[in-house]
Symmetry: C2
């Protein structure tokens, strides 16, 4: 029997390719968490379409409404503007949701412990990222230690971050090699019909496709 893996999937490009990587070796328990982000509905659609594509053995969706309640991010608080991308900036962008990935990993770990999954895949990206502190390899190493200590003695769960050191263009290429359904993924933080093309997430995605020499199959509100 194949190893069961919980795959945290937002429905974006990185999690789409991460799902393709996990599917090579594991049966998939796909997990999507919404947290009041602006493009929640569109991301959920992308998640289900990717999970259908990979015939996920199990899937779970849940809402972490308290993240919107806490606020502090342009992704969840309509009072904070989504900043236009500045890929050279060194400060943390307004889209940072405080400590978000710890919430995602906590849910993934609890679910993994109950369903008997031995791995958690998450499509975090460090090198070419927007500078979120919870996307760095050290964060996942530290969290793996919390899991080892904080679960039952017989539980063995490890977080894997297969795209964390890749540039966005390498993620696009890896996805194409594996036949990942990139046309089903959604990355825009701002819009749900046509991607805006100017938010952090769109800018990174578009640069990735450009550097990979491939046209992004998604519809954009601007000329790309």
């Amino acid at each position: 029997m194949k190893t069961l893996a919980v795959v945290l999937a937002s429905g974006g490009l990185d999690s789409c390719v991460t799902t393709a990587i996990a599917a090579q070796e594991c049966a998939l328990a796909m997990l999507h968490l919404s947290y009041g982000q602006r493009t929640e509905r569109r991301e959920l659609q992308a998640f289900h379409e990717i999970a259908d594509y990979y015939k996920a053995a199990q899937r779970m969706t849940a809402s972490l409404a308290h993240l919107a309640q806490i606020g502090g991010s342009s992704l969840t608080d309509r009072g904070i503007e989504v900043s236009r991308a500045n890929l050279e900036a060194t400060e943390i962008p307004t889209s940072y949701v405080p400590f978000r990935n710890a919430h995602l990993l906590a849910v993934a770990t609890s679910w993994a412990e109950v369903v008997g999954a031995e791995r958690i895949y998450i499509g975090a990206v460090a090198e070419d990222s927007s500078g979120y502190p919870d996307c760095r390899p050290e964060f996942y190493a530290a969290f793996n230690r919390v899991i080892a200590i904080g679960t039952k003695p017989e539980t063995e769960i490890e977080i894997l971050t297969p795209v964390i050191k890749l540039r966005k263009s390498e993620i696009v290429r890896r996805g194409l090699e594996l036949g990942a359904p990139l046309h089903l993924s959604w990355s825009c933080y701002q819009n749900e019909e046509q991607a805006c093309g100017v938010c952090d997430s769109c800018a990174l995605r578009l640069r990735g496709f450009r550097e990979a020499g491939v046209r992004d199959p998604l519809p954009y509100a601007i000329e790309i």
Copy 2:
């Protein structure tokens, strides 16, 4: 200005005494999280009464409904019976909610980062506990490392567990010394009107009061 501290408070004995300890040095941002546990309503009442007693500067309550959705515990899954206490047992009791405290700490950390709190207090108890893996000092040390890495560089948040090494009787005594409103706390995992007296949590509480030589002020369904 006093340091602001987020205090995770279930409304039980341990968190009541932890609140009393935090209140000696800090202004309080009190946080209660429900997760579909059987005695949710009664715990929330205890939380608000304790927060009122200490005139908390801020308070937040939220529901982690996904913990009930994931299941795996007698606290959240009606299909699993609440085991009668066996304080000599070495296995993890059915009331263990997989990786629960990581969820509580994730919410506390996000809130602390947004409101500018520098400490998180949690009333975890290791020595005299029911054997939950996420109640041990190593778990909190590992989580502090995750916080240091996973939040903004300028954020300084530390988890404090002031009762973690105390026996229940010592917690009762510390509470009495500090004038903590123990009569407002609620510990029973089973009932909401009269404490059952036989679940893990009641058994530990009652033994604590007995060893401290004090009568527990709560109403019990059995002779104590």
